[in-house]
């Protein structure tokens, strides 16, 4: 698929500036229609809201469609237990919520769940880390391996590194998969 200009250089050619931002995973997939994504959001919101009611958590639920995915955010002040250490409870809840959506729609869902702004703040931190790592690799010209991260976290870091014009890959097995950053002339 050619899009008329040469922003999507397949090979890394050193200091080629990436004008169009980071490469998106699955960018070639057809766009999903907004209506079914909104339905995903509704089902997910019901599922999560039911849990909040039972467990007596105060939280408002926002729904959104972001980058071809439904996004459901629980906003509130005392939701730390639902995020957990390194977001593990949040990941578990997202997994269950996707299954709840799948049961009702028959389609596998890529819905994103956020609680207490965890993903947004994590994204900022990881973008900064990714950019810093890219700078370090540019400076030293050496391959750099990062700490193990979740799929969501690796995605954010890959995007930041691509945004800085370098190439990165994931290596290792879950749950210890980690990002490797390559210098430009590698």
């Amino acid at each position: 698929m050619s899009n008329g200009n040469s922003e999507n250089a397949d090979q890394d050619r050193g200091n080629v500036a990436v004008a169009d931002g980071p490469e998106k995973e699955g960018a070639a997939e057809p766009a999903v229609d907004i209506e079914s994504l909104e339905r995903e959001g509704d089902i997910a919101a019901d599922y999560i809201e039911g849990l909040l009611d039972i467990a007596d958590f105060d939280g408002d639920i926002d729904m959104d469609v972001e980058a071809d995915r439904a996004k459901v955010s629980v906003v509130g002040t005392t939701l730390d237990e639902l995020v957990g250490d390194k977001g593990e409870v949040l990941e578990a809840l997202q997994e269950l919520t996707r299954l709840a959506v799948h049961r009702r729609t028959g389609h596998r869902s890529r819905l994103m769940l956020d609680i207490g702004g965890y993903r947004d703040s994590r994204r900022k931190t990881l973008t900064r880390i990714g950019t810093e790592m890219a700078d370090e690799v540019k400076r030293k010209g050496e391959v750099k391996e990062l700490e193990p991260m979740s799929p969501f976290e690796r995605k954010v870091v890959h995007d930041a590194i691509a945004g800085a014009g370098l190439r990165s890959e994931s290596e290792g097995e879950e749950p210890n998969r980690y990002v490797v950053v390559y210098p430009a002339d590698d």
């Binding site: 039972i54 409870v89 990941e91």
Partner: protein
């Protein structure tokens, strides 16, 4: 509250939600939540490599706030 929360989580992901029953049993050092589901749904609540079961346990553990809670997933007709 935990039983109810777990029941809600499981009912939302199975086909036969009317067949979901959660019973709490007290242990000396905490409690067990026995979840019974329709035989056709057992694979679903366990998930590939036990992934769904793990997610359910993680969430219930978080709601239990550090108290020991075991979650057992059983077929509706399983006798114990």
């Amino acid at each position: 509250m935990l039983e109810e929360a777990l029941e809600h989580l499981v009912k939302g992901i199975v086909e036969n939600s009317d067949d979901v029953h959660v019973k709490a049993r007290r242990l000396r050092k905490g409690k067990v939540l026995e979840v019974r589901v329709h035989p056709d749904d057992l694979g679903k609540v366990i998930g590939r490599n036990g992934r769904t079961a793990k997610s359910l346990r993680t969430v219930v553990g978080a709601l239990a706030g550090g108290r020991y809670v075991r979650v057992d997933l059983l077929d509706l007709h399983e006798v114990r």
